[in-house]
Symmetry: C2
Subunit: 464 residues, 2 copies
């Protein structure tokens, strides 16, 4: 049981919670450990207890008890974050939202839906299959939509459809004192006061706990076509992307995978792509529109030395292709079993992307560990996955140094320290480097909405 | 000089400001009166002095002096707001930003630009003419981009390109204590902490003063084509819009004008449209894409009884058409010279739009004054302009009652009390009706960022 850093007694809170939730207050080591970590290399820091909440009212009740006892409270979706987002640094109560998984409403007329926070991306996708609609935000993992809102997720389709920032219409949020807030209406646009929705999108459970999400949906496209194209070097692939974006081609997905990442995918999924840099592309639109887009991009790629443009127009082929892309992370982990993954992402203006990647590749080439690279390069966003030996302090430090150099390189190019992974525990210092004045204002906001600091402490902002 | 409501002495602040700004501290009645009102029917409430600021540092200096003396400070762009946004309820200092009108940077590679807050929409448009880029947000008036960010403006193109919410990448803001804050980087997306940019977009000068704006730009479309189409009734026009949006056609503009508004435009601009409801449309895309879109919409319109589809493909014709639409407001005012305009807008989910407009038209038909209607109906957003006799209290109350009924109708349909005009003084009570819990949180944010309440007091939130 924790009581450090001015927090109260979890034991007292748990006792109060038991009087309402009975044996739904879970304290087994297995459950606690499962909720003490995400998919990053950060060690597990288990909460003192876990409750699977079933409604916003239950979340509110738990938060009120935690507020009363001044005990940390951490929201948990699917645990697929990768910057240390759910670790219980000071113990406390974890609210698992995965049983809040009802799709409350889908409107084909308004192209929107409301879901409980625990609904996952693929669950929504299956539910929408027969409606002619789809939700485009796809961070790879089958994350919960509440978690995706909380971390301002984006992923492969963001280049065309935006991120969770653009696609959340409204949220239901439980505040640090237990108040339940609806941040907006179902109107497509509004000038009615401060943008409370965007205040909570990306706040990583530190300003409130998201319990319901109202999302924009899109009509399924008449035509979808996907392709892969290989390049002799990463630079030619990146130049292809830049030219495509600058020409304003509304490509739906344009993903870079370097040769090492392709090797990882081949091994993991038993495929036989050439182990050189690739772009994975997808085009959405009318039959003729898709044809037009695809032809233009194919020409651009050819000018930059791209070859082997392989098309996948049938849904099954496309699924296989994107399945390979989605498995980039687990595939890459297998490049060095037993290593401790250090993952990072940055995002820069696209005019600086080639330069940023070129300089980063120099670090990768000099590194003593495997470092595959993938990127949502249409947004100027790319990721490294460093795989140091966990028992080799020098290699762990080397990974940190490569990360530091990457982030500082991106910041110097007017980019950001994280395009989509979020701050969690991993990027608190880098956020301070990116915007020290901004962090001051963020601290003021945190202090106002969570004066006792009980909501996911130690994430986004440094404690104390 | 004002000193009500706990504010300090403007005289003392002015004296301090003179020591730095000399005779740039303007106090003539004409200048003060000009800065005491926007284009709404709200009476002028002049500030005690006006300074045309030339830099963020100057704005910071003025705000620091005002903070020291606890004197209100009000940002002024072009004065084209219409909900009472700039009135100096308690006197104080007005900072006019119109001389901060430099376009600081345009990147054709990154499709973005940075401008000072006083740059107007048309100034930017002219500047971009030769770059192949354009900025789509168009609220009609030649507003300043700082003002447009501050009121979360949208207008005719929002159905396709979004509002200022989606198109501001980053802001420079002077806070209530004089701190200068950059809210973001030039990266297209970021998960680096709380969304400070969106916190200030739409805050109407009450949380900070926007001094620079970084905007997304778009490549000019290969083909643009516009059309007008008339309908026997508003309902058929609205049904056409709903079907168009629900089919996912990426129409760039789809505007409704009722028969009375068409009459006003005809008189004002010496045109001869039939004085029945019209849709004004614009399509953007490739040659073939525009043709496809236009054909589909034309068929939908025909099914709903639309006729006289008149095309304007040459830029000159299009300009004339949109010029007529942009003059809807001044044209409507001329329907009853000497009346006091009471303008309002709401936004509802598109599935409720026909019903909302049908019920509203019943009020319009019963009204004792002219009430033209226009709408950015693709977003579910429409406006009424009521023209009561300012000397007839019963008619003024009637206008208020029609407004009240409209807003409550929209709220009951899960819509918002203002789609794009903002809250200003006019919709404070309606914002409270829309989201009482939200207003509590907004008050907390205001209290944190402007504890002395000096920034544009009496706007967005009720005082005290």
């Amino acid at each position: 049981m924790s009581g450090q850093s001015g927090y109260g007694s979890s034991a007292a809170a748990i006792s109060d919670l038991r009087s309402h939730f009975g044996d739904r207050v879970l304290q087994s080591a297995a459950v606690r450990d499962h909720h003490g970590h995400d998919e990053s290399g950060w060690e597990s820091m288990p909460p003192d207890a876990v409750i699977y909440a079933r409604s916003s009212d239950e979340v509110s009740r738990i938060v009120r008890v935690c507020a009363h006892h001044r005990v940390p409270v951490i929201a948990f979706g699917t645990g697929t974050a990768i910057e240390g987002h759910v670790q219980a640094l000071h113990g406390g109560i974890c609210i698992d939202l995965s049983e809040m998984n009802r799709i409350l409403r889908v409107s084909t007329e308004d192209l929107d839906c409301t879901v409980e926070a625990g609904v996952t991306r693929l669950q929504l996708d299956r539910h929408l299959r027969d409606t002619g609609l789809f939700f485009p935000i796809d961070p790879g993992a089958d994350a919960s939509l509440g978690g995706m809102a909380a971390t301002r997720a984006s992923g492969t389709n963001a280049v065309r459809y935006g991120t969770m920032r653009e696609n959340v219409l409204s949220l239901r949020v439980v505040l640090a004192d237990g108040r339940v807030l609806d941040t907006g209406t179902r109107a497509r646009k509004s000038s009615a006061g401060y943008d409370l929705t965007r205040l909570f999108v990306g706040s990583e459970g530190t300003l409130g706990i998201i319990t319901e999400v109202t999302l924009r949906l899109y009509g399924r496209q008449e035509a979808v076509s996907a392709a892969v194209c290989s390049f002799a070097g990463v630079e030619q692939a990146v130049e292809t992307v830049i030219a495509t974006i600058q020409m304003g081609i509304p490509v739906a997905r344009i993903e870079l995978l370097d040769g090492l990442q392709m090797q990882a995918i081949n091994r993991y999924a038993k495929l036989d792509y050439p182990e050189v840099p690739h772009l994975f592309l997808e085009f959405h639109g009318s039959e003729s529109g898709v044809r037009e887009q695809a032809q233009t991009v194919q020409e651009i790629a050819r000018e930059h030395g791209g070859h082997d443009f392989q098309w996948a127009t049938r849904e099954e082929e496309r699924s296989r292709l994107w399945h390979a892309r989605h498995n980039a992370y687990p595939a890459a982990l297998q490049l060095r079993p037993g290593s401790r993954p250090v993952t990072t992402d940055v995002c820069v203006p696209i005019s600086r992307l080639a330069e940023c990647i070129r300089e980063t590749r120099r670090d990768i080439e000099r590194a003593s560990m495997p470092i595959p690279m993938v990127g949502h390069v249409g947004d100027g966003n790319f990721h490294l996955l460093m795989l140091p030996d966990p028992d080799d302090p020098a290699q762990l430090e080397e990974a940190e140094e490569i990360n530091r150099r990457l982030v500082r390189r991106a910041l110097a190019m007017d980019g950001t320290c994280t395009g989509e992974h979020g701050v969690g525990m991993g990027k608190i210092g880098f956020l301070e480097e990116e915007n020290p004045q901004g962090v001051e204002v963020m601290r003021q906001l945190k202090q106002t909405l969570d004066p006792a600091g009980i909501l996911n402490p130690g994430k986004v902002l440094r404690e104390g």
